[in-house]
């Protein structure tokens, strides 16, 4: 039993922490978020330089031999700074598919570009009527000669406007919610027939509705087994869940610290509001929620390689616990900030919004609670 990071991990964390502190203050972030691009490719290049983008890949695949704990460290620091650059879809999701199921040729083609920052990915899994069910797919991929033809509509694909490639789940057989028949493809974002409608999200990122209109892809666009990829999708989604939990921890930590700090400075009736016992105890409860979230994030991260049922159940437990914590911490942070918390002039609102939306990504509390129950 060991809860320490390795020396390398501590170094990565320190480096990232410095980057966020020095280049990702909230005003700068806001400028980038409101710019036309909506993100900063130069930050992405720096992440590549620092080796962050290659960290979780094995050395033979061109990475630095890290794993889930490293992704957790990265995501927690990103959460602290509300970093919008698409580490999760690119490294955790696309990277995850490639690591677990990519052929040598696929690894060769994609991983290098991820590691050096030249390729950016988005993960197109959700559909308009599918809620959080990864198998609820109306997007189809029909075998056609040497390849497949994709048709369908993917909802709220985070990072798609920035992506060079999309990882797409589609149905090669079976009924709309069958566990069998799910396949995964990687598609160039500028492929013929890929139609996007891009938009900003309330938590400062960019996303798209993505329509596949007779998009032809070659056979080697298929990652993993044709029609048998649901377990793979679930594995990657659980890895994404663990990463989101880490991001939430980072955001909660800062939101809590900002709130305590604000309560020290802000006076009402001649007294700093941090002297009111009701607010003190609520800030204690925020801290407790944060600490429990860190614990659950550790647990979910360390169980990502456990047997399937244990992995799933732990990931869902973490998403439930962090979802509840994120809701409480976010709402209380605004309440304790009072009117100022409602304005776009303080950073706290951005933390609240990210904590809100994060809560529904890859399944909300109810979704994961049901999954936890089913796996009892």
């Amino acid at each position: 039993m060991d809860f320490n990071f390795t020396e390398e991990q501590e170094m990565v964390r320190d480096g990232l922490s410095r980057l966020v502190r020095e280049q990702y203050d909230w005003e700068t972030r806001r400028g980038a978020v409101e710019s036309d691009a909506g993100w900063r490719p130069e930050i992405w290049a720096q992440l590549a330089e620092l080796g962050i983008l290659g960290m979780p890949f094995s050395e033979e695949d061109g990475g630095f031999g890290g794993g889930a704990v490293d992704a957790m460290i990265v995501m927690e620091e990103f959460g602290k700074g509300l970093v919008v650059e698409p580490f999760l879809p690119t490294v955790v999701c696309a990277g995850g598919f490639l690591k677990h199921a990519g052929t040598d040729a696929q690894k060769e083609e994609h991983i290098g570009g991820i590691v050096d920052g030249s390729r950016v990915y988005a993960f197109a899994y959700a559909e308009p009527r599918g809620r959080y069910d990864l198998a609820d797919l109306q997007t189809t991929a029909k075998k056609d000669g040497d390849g497949y033809v994709l048709n369908g509509h993917k909802a709220v694909v985070v990072g798609a406007p920035w992506a060079s490639h999309l990882v797409v789940t589609a149905r090669t057989s079976g009924g709309q919610r069958d566990r069998d028949g799910v396949s995964v493809f990687v598609v160039a974002n500028d492929a013929k027939g890929v139609v996007r409608r891009d938009y900003p999200t309330v938590d400062g990122r960019r996303a798209s509705e993505v329509y596949f209109e007779n998009v032809s892809v070659p056979t080697d666009a298929l990652i993993g087994e044709e029609g048998g990829a649901l377990p793979l999708v679930e594995q990657v989604a659980d890895e994404a869940v663990a990463a989101l939990c880490a991001e939430a921890c980072g955001a909660m930590k800062v939101a809590h610290a900002m709130t305590v700090d604000y309560s020290r400075q802000r006076k009402q009736f001649g007294v700093p509001i941090g002297k009111f016992q009701v607010l003190q105890h609520r800030m204690v409860d925020m801290f407790t929620e944060y600490e429990q979230s860190v614990s659950m994030t550790y647990l979910a991260t360390l169980k990502l390689d456990a047997p399937e049922k244990e992995r799933k159940r732990t990931a869902s437990a973490a998403k439930v616990r962090i979802g509840q914590a994120a809701r409480f911490v976010g709402q209380e942070a605004i309440q304790i900030h009072g009117g100022m918390g409602m304005t776009d002039e303080l950073a706290i609102g951005s933390y609240f919004k990210r904590l809100t939306i994060l809560n529904s990504e890859f399944g909300d509390v109810d979704h994961h609670m049901k999954r936890h129950i089913k796996l009892a």
Partner: protein
């Protein structure tokens, strides 16, 4: 003991209902829930009601009130909520109007009440100041007498919709040496077009601009704009805060919103079935309905007390706490219901004018913005913590 309306009340309800059906502007649609109305839309219904003589029901009849009983006023709110009408803004009708007809001079009454009734004059409120929050008595804006004018300097914040306002009512410190912070404050009406008044919108976390900061720099205001006595403004301010309690719980609106939530959850799917049939989600909706039913009866009990001549007491703090909790929960469940489509920032998308493809269902639009926006309700109007302090003192006697 019974819950039935009398025959007269039922007749009144029918009258109100048909009036609304015939006159509520069709183009406003579901206005009571929209985040993006034009200023013209916001006063459209007010102006129609002004002509009908129904814009200020709770005022004394001599000033244009309807003389309705509290039950009739309750019916009035209910019927408006049925079509989700956008009600007259409170700043004139429920706030400054009653102060003027109670404490104002005859001249002030003649000058200001007609515009409030008709909806032609838009008012805003200058109470809060930066850093003061619920601690109104700590205000710093000064009004210094200079001949037959006050010269006003200071800064107000959270002045809701001041960007459209013709007039504002402001609390200003006229005696800086008063013994207590509540003393030495005056209640002054200011024409918002007076030189030195500057309004700057504050962007809120939902992306909207419904509140403002208002700077007052050497603003010269005629002394006849002082309401009541100099240095007694705190009395009028408290009167104003306590005056318009009916509707504070927002029951009628929330009932309509629960229906809307049920509709949405009937359209969203979980495992291919309507979300509303999911036990988890249904439980949350039922809980809301139950809490709302309890709140409604609590409000009716308060109304009945008023009808029997008891003024609304500190129990109205309960209405405020529970009412806002329910409103917040409603928006939260709506956001939850729409799933992934809570994330898009719809406001900005519409600005772009694109309509090539829809983004999610209609009802998902603004669900996140509305949720964010409604966090304000437990903060403003005396935060819910302050309401609990009031109950501690006034009811528990601790």
């Amino acid at each position: 003991m019974n819950l039935e309306f009398t025959a007269e009340e039922l007749a009144f309800r029918d009258e109100v209902r048909s009036f609304i059906e015939e006159n509520y502007p069709k183009h406003l649609g579901d206005a009571g829930m929209r985040e993006d109305m034009s200023p013209e839309d916001m006063v459209a219904w007010h102006k129609i009601l002004g002509e009908k003589g129904w814009s200020v029901p709770s005022w004394p009849e001599q000033y244009g009130g309807t003389g309705w009983t509290p039950t009739q006023r309750y019916i009035w709110l209910e019927e408006n909520a049925r079509v989700n009408a956008f009600m007259p803004l409170p700043f004139g009708v429920s706030m400054v109007g009653p102060v003027i007809y109670t404490f104002g001079s005859e001249e002030q009454k003649e000058r200001h009440l007609p515009g409030i009734r008709s909806g032609d004059v838009w008012w805003c409120q200058g109470y809060s100041e930066p850093g003061a929050g619920s601690d109104l008595a700590s205000l710093k804006t000064t009004a210094v007498r200079d001949g037959d004018h006050y010269v006003i300097n200071g800064q107000k914040t959270w002045t809701t919709l001041a960007q459209y306002a013709d007039w504002g009512f402001f609390l200003c410190r006229t005696d800086p040496d008063a013994a207590k912070p509540q003393e030495g404050i005056s209640f002054i009406l200011i024409d918002m077009k007076t030189p030195g008044v500057e309004v700057r919108p504050i962007k809120l976390i939902d992306g909207g601009y419904e509140v403002n900061e208002t700077w007052l720099t050497d603003v010269r205001v005629p002394v006849e704009n002082l309401v009541g006595e100099e240095n007694k403004g705190w009395t009028y301010a408290k009167f104003l805060l306590a005056h318009e309690r009916s509707g504070i719980a927002g029951v009628a609106r929330s009932k309509r919103a629960v229906e809307k939530l049920r509709e949405i959850a009937g359209k969203e799917l979980l495992d291919g079935e309507p979300l509303i049939e999911d036990l988890d989600f249904a439980r949350k909706v039922s809980q809301l309905e139950i809490d709302l039913a309890a709140l409604e009866i609590t409000e009716l009990r308060t109304l009945a007390g008023e009808q029997a001549g008891k003024g609304p007491g500190p129990e109205s703090s309960i209405l405020k706490i529970k009412g806002t909790e329910i409103q917040q929960r409603l928006t939260e469940l709506t956001l939850e219901a729409v799933g992934n489509y809570g994330a898009p920032m719809y406001g900005q998308i519409e600005d772009a004018g694109s309509n090539q493809y829809p983004i999610g269902p209609d009802y998902a639009q603004h669900s996140a913005a509305t949720y964010f926006n409604m966090r304000k309700t437990s903060i403003y109007g005396g935060s819910n913590e302050i309401q609990r302090n009031i109950i501690t003192k006034m009811i528990l006697g601790l």
